[in-house]
């Protein structure tokens, strides 16, 4: 076993009072919800998005789309007072669709209808369903009604899946559809293990091609790796396939997930049990060292998959008293929440605001903060090692034993960086932060 991680004293962390969330939710922590939709749609090869919205919204969303989703040109109609109050929204949307259709190699034209267009009213039945054979799909994502960026991914994915999914072919025995934006190596890791059980990964959504949407209809079961793909899962459920919730996370989680997949795909129970036990054993071998033992870690993101990481950290020996996310509570979040609560997590906050996270920072002493940009800045101002959840965790594998080892080793390295954070805050603030 390894070097000792500098840790806060147990005393300071052991608070007597139960945690109370922030007194108010003034600053909700989520990317603009609509961005989730743009991210999913802009990354599809040949997709030519047409955005129906005002210029400020268009600027912000195009900015982040060009940074984080795809190097893709985006068209929109100019929508000002004259167009919005003059009943021209429909005409404007059609003009943008026509311009998008002029591109070469168009696979789909997603029409992304945002706050002002939704308020003015955009009628789906008055939009073309295709232009020159190029499919047009309306996606409604007003930020005032969707509330979080991950949930908009679900709405967008469900909209295109509904349009393209293959409803004719038979289900392929043993073929599993994965749903969730995961690190590219993760589906390969999962596929490798599934093949040992006589199954395989058919495709992973959201993907990069409409053919993947078609193919998803041939799956014999669907696994919602992230807990906010409710609409998407429903589209496949309508095809009569089994749904596996949760993800192959950590030792116990991976084995349980493999068993659930085995049941959903009707695989040979003995083989499944053997593979699940193998995975669990590999994971337990690594976890025996308890690489994060004694560390108190805060997990706060807006990606909707925060509970998975929290589970992993806890299995690695960390104390994770507080987890917050931008998504709402649902049947898909229940199992993870129950697991966390049974393993030392005192608070799981849905639809969180920075005020909730700051209350947690005051309530516990953390050795590491994995948070939103705002929270990570707040922690760095206090000399606490901290990283931006989205950028840092989504760039490495997470699932099964292999993913677990990669993620935990990285987190462990972060813990050693505390002196750097302390030195910076001492230099830049005369007497530390308030």
């Amino acid at each position: 076993m390894a070097e000792i991680i500098p840790l806060t004293t147990g005393e300071a962390s052991a608070s007597q009072e139960p945690f109370k969330p922030g007194a108010c939710k003034l600053h909700p922590q989520t990317m603009c919800p609509a961005f989730g939709a743009l991210r999913v749609l802009a990354r599809i090869e040949g997709a030519q998005p047409a955005m129906v919205t005002d210029t400020g919204c268009l600027y912000g969303l195009t900015f982040v789309t060009h940074f984080y989703a795809a190097r893709k040109s985006i068209v929109a109609p100019a929508l000002g007072t004259a167009e919005l109050s003059g009943g021209k929204v429909q005409e404007a949307a059609n003009a943008a669709i026509a311009e998008a259709a002029r591109e070469q190699h168009v696979s789909v034209i997603p029409v992304i209808s945002l706050c002002v267009a939704e308020t003015a009213g955009l009628a789906e039945e008055l939009l073309p369903t295709e232009v020159d054979g190029k499919p047009v799909v309306l996606v409604r994502v007003p930020a005032y009604a969707i509330h979080s960026h991950p949930e908009a991914k679900d709405i967008a994915l469900a909209a295109v899946l509904r349009r393209f999914v293959d409803r004719q072919s038979d289900h392929e025995p043993g073929a599993l559809v994965l749903v969730g934006e995961v690190f590219p190596a993760d589906p390969l890791l999962i596929d490798g293990v599934l093949r040992k059980m006589g199954a395989r990964v058919l495709t992973t959504l959201p993907g990069r091609h409409v053919d993947e949407l078609r193919l998803a209809g041939r799956g014999a079961a669907v696994a919602a790796l992230h807990p906010f793909y409710r609409e998407t899962v429903n589209v496949l459920r309508e095809r009569g396939v089994g749904v596996v919730t949760g993800a192959p996370i950590g030792a116990a989680g991976s084995a349980a997930w493999l068993r659930a997949v085995g049941a959903a795909l009707d695989l040979d129970e003995e083989v499944v049990e053997r593979v699940a036990a193998e995975e669990e054993e590999t994971a337990r071998g690594f976890l025996a060292a308890q690489p994060l033992k004694g560390a108190t870690i805060l997990v706060s993101g807006y990606e909707g998959n925060e509970m998975l990481y929290a589970r992993l950290l806890i299995e690695g020996g960390a104390h994770v008293p507080y987890v917050s996310t931008s998504i709402g509570q649902s049947a898909l979040t229940a199992a993870d929440e129950a697991w966390l609560k049974a393993h030392g997590t005192e608070a799981v906050i849905y639809r969180k605001a920075i005020e909730d996270d700051q209350a947690a920072m005051k309530h516990w002493n953390f050795d590491l903060v994995i948070g939103t940009t705002t929270l990570a800045a707040y922690a760095k101002e206090r000399g606490i090692p901290s990283v931006y959840y989205t950028n840092i965790l989504s760039v490495r594998p997470l699932f099964l034993a292999g993913g677990m080892i990669a993620s935990l080793s990285f987190v462990r390295e972060l813990m050693h960086r505390r002196p750097l954070y302390e030195r910076m805050v001492e230099f830049f603030t005369a007497d530390g932060a308030e």
Partner: protein
Amino acid sequence: MTIQLIRDISDTSSFWGASWVFGCFPDLHIVCDAPIGCYNLLGVAVTDYTDALPQMTNLTPTAIREEDVINGTAGALVRTIDDLRGLGSLEGKRLLVISTAESEMISADHTRLVAQIDPQARFFWSRSLEQDEWTGRDRALLFAWEEYGRPFTDPAAAPKAPNLVNIIGPSLGCFNAPADLHEVRRLIEGIGGVVNLVYPYEGSVAGTPRLADAAVNVVLYREFGAPLAEALGRPFLFAPFGIFGTTAFLRDLGRLIGADPARVEAFIAREKCTTLQPVWDLWRGPQSDWFATVDCAIVAGRSYVEGLTALLGDELGMKIAWTSGRPRRPDEPDNIEIRRRIHTKAPAFVFGSINEKIYLAEANARATHYIPATFPGPVVRRTTGTPFMGYAGAANIMQELVNRFYEMVFNFLPVEQVKVPAGPGGPPRATAAGPPAPPSVETMPWTREATERLNAALEEVPYLARISASRSLRLAAEQAARARGAPEVTVDLVEAAIAQGG
């Protein structure tokens, strides 16, 4: 009414522009009557990529929800202000409520409500559905002067000193503002001016009346700021670009602040052998010859377009292929046309935003050098070392371009790769009959059409890269001819070589 189409929008709305102005004041708190998305994009996401600020700390949304769209946002606004007061976030701060496209869409005018809640608070109707960021910035600057400045000044009062100068314009979301501001401040101080207020960057609500103390205003940008300077009623100048433009600026400013002309000339003379010395050295060296051989396109704010056109075109003799300024004039290309031009023939240098960078990527225009010169697009420009304006700007831009020339030369030099590529042309395998024959060094005959096609293709290649490109295209075409056993190089072989990128 015809519908205007926007491709990859360049200018944001007045809500953003106004918030980027008001957001500079540490003694002001902004409540934007907005859904969470507008708050996040402006306050957390984009401003981190334009200004490298983790977030705007003095911005709070009403977080409009579905029920507010139906019933109005007054309830959400009252709740937000109450919560801010509860947290103590408004202590020592003035409150400003600002409308957004969505709140304007449902006509949520809170002028009276805000006055009832707090007589010191103000409501700013941003007109975000009609106006762009430049108008928004101008209106915010005038609003700040009218509300927080002018009423507290004596209109008859003279400037506090004849050499006091305000710098107006630098605010959040202004590309490269710290470096340009640093240079303009250096120039002003160099001839004996004293910078009174940098507004709104270094301003505050409480300090706004001090705008009246200055004798002269320097407006940093052509695209906004002049209306405030006019309202202040003192003479003003625009910030300068280029060697000769900056010299003229220094002489004009010297006259306006009553500086001794000898001091101004002494400063200019000293600059020639310090800040500007690299310009003179590069001009006398072989580097300046290159400027005449390449073209560039400039997409940027009006100041940068005019300033770079003067520096690169009029002073250094580079060919300016085309430009498009912001706010865009009707005779300038919009993004649909810019994209078409870049796809058709990309200039050797493109100054622009991420939009132009995407169009270059779409066209696979790898020989073109892209230089960030405006937003949108994530880029950190927070140091003082990257000015476009003033003497330092001229030296910086010239240095940057010469380095890009060097880069171009480097990229076209032959290289022996350490890792030998596998497959055909790679190392001979054990089972192979022998190594592939080396390309013949004998000159092959070319048809006239083939030569003409080669020359036409080379016309499209930036000047510096032409020698290397001609060699690689020639070799590719000749190798293809030999492989096919053709006695001479024909035009179809040249086409194939061009299609494969030489």
